[in-house]
Amino acid sequence: MGQRVAVIASGQTNHCSKRADVNIPELIQEAVDRALLQANMTLDDIDAVVIGNMEHFEGINLSDMWASEGAGSVLKPAIKIATGGTTGASVAACAYYHCASGLFDTVLAIGWEKLSESDPTGGIITAFDPIVERLTLAGAVGGLAIEATAYMKTYNVPEEVIALAAVRARKNAKNNPHAHLKLDLTVEQVLSTPYIAYPIHYLDMCPASDGACAVIMASEKRAKDLTTKPAWIDAVVCRHNHAWIGDIFFGKHSTLESAAIEAYKIAGITDPLNELDVIEMYDPASYTLVSWLEYLHLCKLGEGRRLVEEGITSMEGRLPVNPSGGVVSTNPIGATALIRLAEASLQVQGRAEMRQVDGVRRALSSGFGGSYWNEVFILSAK
């Protein structure tokens, strides 16, 4: 019972603010073609497809229908998964369970979004209860601003540290041909941009991107034939939260912590700072690159700033976080959490080119969304 599952290959579009040259199925097909090319496979080799995005962003209902011809799912088993910011992670988890169940051997996981065709904040606002919460929670940034404020106050973290994380993310993105925001910034420049919602400055926040990501997974029995570089999925853990933002305690990111603890337990990790080689985490705003390190148990509460200030999470550090530039550099929402898994698997496979971290044996990726829920994956070379 329960087969092992590996990531075989992945493909991404070159994410940017507006892809006027392609429609939605064409955008998706770009990522699918690149994944198939990397895997040296054709669509005939794919047993099933899992796809996801958020319908309100493009205004396409049953969006897997139109997408089918770009996704390669015509006359294949296909399922659509959608869970907000976590969509890409939820798509990946669904593809994982396709293989782990023994029902399918090769599965194509696709996440996409074309945010230039919509108003992302307008779309996100509708996640909240229409009677009580919708009027007060302005899209994604509202909840994040509450958490950031609580965090910075509780642990006395200045805006400069948060801005440093934002600067470093955009610098990492310069090594990633798929990244959207590749910028040389200074801390002063970040701090000089307006607050979107205090204490989050414009350049602390993730962009809205057009882009797609495709990941091919295979069961143990096929993975070894299909690649010499499988990135094995050792743990898949999801933790959800209460429905109402008002019920969520912003002093502790319990779903991320709970997911990480469980993932470490499954993967046999006791000292994540030393046993992980790279992290691709879902960082919707730059304060999470400080605060959420603590919930990943890389350090004690309040010590995230030390990891950032001492450069431990920079490209040259002991545990680089988001060599790709992360979500604050690239955010096609339905693809975003799948990109984390794709980037983590590229690192394990030694395929990350300019952004490769040396000698990666074990990687963590995460997805964040909804009412503060999280999904965590652990990947390994063995």
């Binding site: 429609n23 205004g59 049953l62 139109w66 088993p77 869970t83 898949v236 429905a243 709970s258």
Partner: protein
């Protein structure tokens, strides 16, 4: 392979507008009903797969509304943004993976909170099709006409489906549109999209459905009447209606063949005892029954007229009244699975098919059935 069984099912009564309940409340109602039947509580639910529609709910991340109702706090919950039959499949995968022993599946929808014409129109691509004003009903009318023309199916044939299913719905306390109506009367109903009249088209419903799945070794904790998941297939077809033969369905045929093969069925017409299929429109019961291999192509109406598919016939189709009796988007497929399970447990009440041991449940999504999922459920392990 491990075996997975349905150990409990629950539905709300379906209604045109449940103004006294919000999404979380209809979800809570079925979750509690499920717990009451099985003796389970939230601690027994190891993970949750929901199905709901952002468009129909008017709420992005439509599953967020039901997190507390399903007990998702610090658990794994995920949402299939498609028909409930596919949520059951994903729920089964999670158990077969070895990661979970039980999975709660829940689908909810309140059609009353949206505009079905606009929501249906948004299924069509914004470049070529949407401006035509086409919606899911208009697309169904195109398919109905193509099917009727090809096989000389008449308005009277469609009306017979209506009379049978809405009559069956009078025996189902959860159905929304339950009517003793003759085919003659159904043919007098107002024309909505030629050739489809009012009762040829499923109503828009509010409601929820939940089922609990368990791995074989956990089944006895919850029920002494498990229903075993013994075969499943799901496939997607082309998007543009003009790229498909609307009088047939390659996706449904492949899904059925895979499900039959898994379940060891070679002659579905003889080996199945009851069928619950997703008939958004009257003609679809005839068309889908042909593609499922229950009748030859073009002979679905003959099967109907022979009485085989009525309650008391050799192979009843939609004894619950089917989707013509209640249609909450994405919930309706899960209801087909729940109804099939009730039949195999002998708990279908006034619409019980005597001695049912093997059932087919079918779900579909997309214009004219772009994606299909076919389940075979068994009373015997």
């Amino acid at each position: 392979m491990d075996r997975v069984a349905i150990v409990g099912v629950a539905q709300t009564k379906f209604a045109a507008a449940k103004v006294d309940q919000n999404y979380a409340e209809i979800a809570y109602e079925v979750t509690q009903s499920l717990f009451n039947q099985t003796g389970a509580n939230y601690n027994d639910v190891e993970n949750i797969v929901t199905a709901s529609s952002d468009f129909w709910d008017g709420r992005t991340i439509s599953s967020m509304a039901v997190q507390d109702a399903v007990g998702a706090w610090l658990k794994s919950e995920t949402k299939v943004s498609s028909d409930g039959t596919l949520a059951v499949l994903y729920a089964m995968m999670r158990i077969l993976s070895g990661s979970f022993g039980t999975t709660l599946v829940l689908a909810h929808c309140k059609s009353s909170e949206g505009d079905p014409t606009l929501i249906g129109n948004a299924v069509f691509d914004p470049i070529y099709q949407r401006q035509l004003g086409i919606d899911l009903v208009a697309a169904g009318a195109l398919q109905a006409r193509a099917y009727m023309e090809k096989y000389n199916i008449t308005q009277a044939d469609l009306a017979e489906v209506v009379a049978k299913n809405l009559g069956n719905a009078t025996r189902n306390p959860n159905a929304q549109r339950a009517m003793s109506i003759t085919a003659q009367e159904a043919m007098q109903a107002s024309l909505v999209a030629d050739p489809l009249r009012e009762y040829d088209i499923a109503p828009n419903s509010d409601g929820a459905c939940a089922i609990l799945l368990a791995r074989e070794d956990l089944v006895s904790k919850f029920t002494d009447k498990p229903v075993w998941l013994s075969g499943v297939g799901h496939y997607q077809d082309n998007y543009y209606l003009g790229d498909r033969d609307l009088t047939d369905s390659r996706a449904l045929e492949k899904a059925a063949l895979k499900a039959y093969s898994m379940a060891g069925i070679t002659n579905p017409r003889k080996e199945l005892d009851v069928v619950e299929l997703y008939d958004t429109f009257s003609y679809q019961e005839l068309l889908w029954s042909e593609v499922l291999g229950l009748a030859e192509r073009g002979k679905g109406a003959e099967l109907l007229h022979s009485g085989v598919t009525k309650i008391g016939g050799e192979l009843p189709i939609n004894p619950s009244g089917g989707v013509l009796g209640a249609h909450a988007m994405f919930v309706a497929g899960l209801v087909r699975v729940a109804e099939a399970a009730l039949q195999l447990r002998g708990e279908a009440g006034a619409h019980q098919v005597e001695g049912a041991r093997r059932a087919l449940a079918h779900g579909t999504v997309g214009p004219c059935g772009q994606t299909h999922c076919v389940w075979i459920l068994s009373k015997d392990k």
